[in-house]
Symmetry: C2
Subunit: 160 residues, 2 copies
DNA sequence: AAAATCGCGAAAGATTCTTGCGCGAAAGCC
DNA sequence: GGCTTTCGCGCAAGAATCTTTCGCGATTTT
């Protein structure tokens, strides 16, 4: 499994291009990174198999689909033993409103990225599901007003 | 431009499939949603042009690329006039460490999703860039321990 | 009931994907 | 130094896919 050190400048270019447009054809990609199509495809496959490319995703426009509420919730638990952290983590996977979830350190124990169709649905979720889940101590919510920046997970400063 | 009401069950299936695998071929996609390839491609194009599909992205494995620190920062500003919110929003776009940013309501004004190669880099960023940026009042950070859930932005409960 | 609208699916040509193979450059070894 | 091995690129060809065109049937409109 190739590590970071095995990636050359062309690999970084490939990652940057696919992070910007994951549906680009291999021919187009090969032109952009400056090699021909076959070795380009081989590099992409290698990056996928190495787990460096975790997958591909269409980015959806939540408001256009009737999802008007995007919010983040910071959750503090009463007890932070390993079993209890795992238990809460598992619970987040059963909540469709929760789209991503992170275990964090700091003032809270979990950060949840939530999407709901309307404020009522979200509030009901917070009160009846989240805050009343076992072991939940504090729930702080931040409703999003608008997205201000939206790049991929990884930056490519000076990697080309 | 089609609105939510114009989407039928097949469109929802297409969105779900492409959110799970944005690089699926159109033939594969058409098989999964139960129509032939040409109308399937037309539907995808329509969803793209309508802005319902905002784009496609390869998901990268940050730790494998030497990005060991993922954190969230909650920022409170001194003054929340429109010009000052816009000014800070613009500033986030110049910070490569900040990958996504949201303007939020609640205890804080902005939430930043940050990725850095190591803790030192991140701390330097927080102290020398973030906390010392104009108009910044409070900075609360939450270092992520691990990702617990990672779905797309939109859920499809009962939409198929 | 006739006409218009709409989306599906078959067919075909263009493009792309994918594999196998030969070549040249760089690294390792005697 | 010179030989061998290794590695990745790019050409070429067959398979698969993409994309457009066109006719059909179903639903809606008039």
């Amino acid at each position: 499994m190739p590590l970071k050190a095995d990636l050359d400048a062309i690999d970084w270019k490939i990652l940057r291009e696919l992070q910007n447009d994951g549906r680009m054809t291999n021919v187009e990609l090969s032109n952009r990174v400056g090699i021909s199509a076959p070795p380009c495809l081989r590099r992409v496959r290698r990056l996928e198999e190495a787990g460096i490319i975790r997958g591909y995703r269409a980015l959806l426009n939540a408001p256009a689909l009737g999802m008007d509420v995007v919010a983040f919730c910071l959750i503090g638990l009463h007890h932070q033993a390993d079993a209890e952290l795992k238990s809460f983590a598992e619970r987040t996977r059963g909540w469709p409103i929760v789209r991503d979830a992170w275990m964090v350190s700091g003032e809270s124990d979990f950060l949840l990225h939530c999407v709901a169709s309307d404020l009522g649905t979200f509030q009901t979720f917070v009160i009846e599901e989240l805050a009343s889940a076992p072991n939940v101590d504090t729930v702080r919510t931040a409703l999003t007003i608008r997205r201000v920046k939206d790049e991929g997970l990884v930056a490519f400063e000076g990697k080309s």
